[in-house]
């Protein structure tokens, strides 16, 4: 009976939606960045599968169907860039150079630290795309020979961390310009950070969503050279 229920595609999908709904609810209720809906979903689903001895393959009957939407979800990011086309045209050089600097910095710092800590190639490849949005990061990680689920974890931890420390860094370094704030948040902590940037202001939110796409595309392009 357990197999009938838990290996049905409906099980994985229903479990994921329920866990995510709890995460969204907790996030709204508390308003704290730590209560990230995605993080909460993992804290519900992973222990539940482990404790009730449900194999990952059963969960993935439904999980694979959700996974299929990663590609369309990445594609429609084009719309958030298109909506900011005026701002993008005005500051094209700044946006591209800022994203390029951020992407290069991320790849270099992560690679150097992985060497410093003596991590193996698979882990290094998994961590290199940690600053870009999940679907693009998975693509980079896979093409470099990384472990995509470790990449997803690194991306999410980075996003949550970014949304907590970005306002602190802005204060500490007295970054007053809204364009600088938005681009720095988008380049360092992708979509999760962008949700924080939107709270800071409309310009910050718009530029952060532009930066998350440009940094992502630039990192993908740079990863072809590695």
């Amino acid at each position: 009976m357990k197999e009938v229920i838990c290996s049905s595609p409906f099980f994985g999908i229903t479990l994921s939606i329920t866990a995510y709904a709890i995460g969204v609810w907790l996030n709204k209720k508390t308003g704290k960045a730590f209560f990230n809906p995605l993080l909460i979903s993992y804290l519900i689903i992973i222990p539940l599968l482990l404790i009730s001895n449900i194999p990952l393959e059963w969960y993935n009957e439904g999980g694979d169907i959700i996974n299929m939407f990663l590609s369309p979800a990445t594609a429609v990011l084009a719309i958030s860039v298109y909506r900011q086309r005026e701002l993008l045209k005005k500051h094209l050089l700044t946006v591209v150079m800022g994203s390029l600097a951020g992407s290069l910095c991320s790849i270099i710092v992560v690679s150097l630290m992985c060497v410093l800590f003596g991590l193996d190639d698979a882990l290094t490849a998994s961590l290199i795309p940690k600053s870009i949005t999940t679907p693009m990061a998975i693509a980079v990680s896979e093409s470099l020979g990384g472990i995509s689920s470790i990449t997803v974890l690194a991306v999410i931890v980075t996003g949550i961390l970014g949304s907590i420390i970005s306002p602190l860094l802005i204060k500490l370094f007295r970054i007053k310009n809204e364009i600088v704030q938005g681009l720095a948040i988008g380049a360092s902590s992708h979509a999760v950070g962008t949700s924080k940037a939107i709270e800071l202001g409309e310009i910050q939110g718009a530029l952060s969503s532009v930066a998350l796409v440009t940094s992502g595309v630039i990192t993908v392009a740079l990863s072809l050279l590695i």
Binding site: S16, I17, Y20, L38, I45, I46, L49, L56, G62, I66, N67, S71, P72, A73, T74, A75, V76, I79, V81, Y82, L93, T94, G102, C105, S106, V110, M113, F117, L127, K130, S131, T134, P135, I138, A139, S143, I147, S148, S149, I150, V152, A154, T158, S166, L169, F173, I175, I179, V180, Q181, L183, A184, I185, A187, S188, S189, A191, V192, V217, V220
Partner: protein, 120 residues
């Protein structure tokens, strides 16, 4: 029917992305190619946001949800995570702060360059 049309538009772009990804001589992810195709179509005016509004709002506003199964896969690598969690945290913290500051510095520099050019 409207939503079905929108799904068909977006999925056919993704399908085209997958085909092109196989044909390209270098490994560019199909999702990125699909995004570039969509961007080109929007800028060229072949597609209006209205044509895909509901479906893309659905995808954009629930973006994080679609990452759940990819992350749950970490269940098979819990030993790996446990073996390097401290290094993991240090790398994430240091690189996130570094990327933020380097981007902020670069953007500040190029904005002042833009302003100077405007002033001239």
């Amino acid at each position: 029917m409207k939503i079905l049309y929108q799904i068909a538009i977006i999925f056919s772009i993704c399908l085209a992305g997958e085909v092109i990804s196989v044909l390209l001589p270098f490994p560019l992810p199909s999702s990125i190619i699909s995004m570039l195709i969509l961007l080109i179509m929007l800028f060229a005016g072949w597609l209006k946001i209205d044509h895909i509004r509901e479906k893309s709002d659905f995808l954009l506003s629930n973006m994080a949800f679609f990452f759940i199964p990819a992350g749950v896969g970490v269940i098979e690598h819990l030993d790996t995570i446990a073996s390097f969690w401290l290094e993991f945290i240090i790398i994430v913290v240091v690189s996130t702060v570094a990327v933020f500051l380097v981007t902020a510095a670069t953007v500040t520099f190029f904005l002042s360059l833009e302003n100077r050019r405007k002033a001239e």
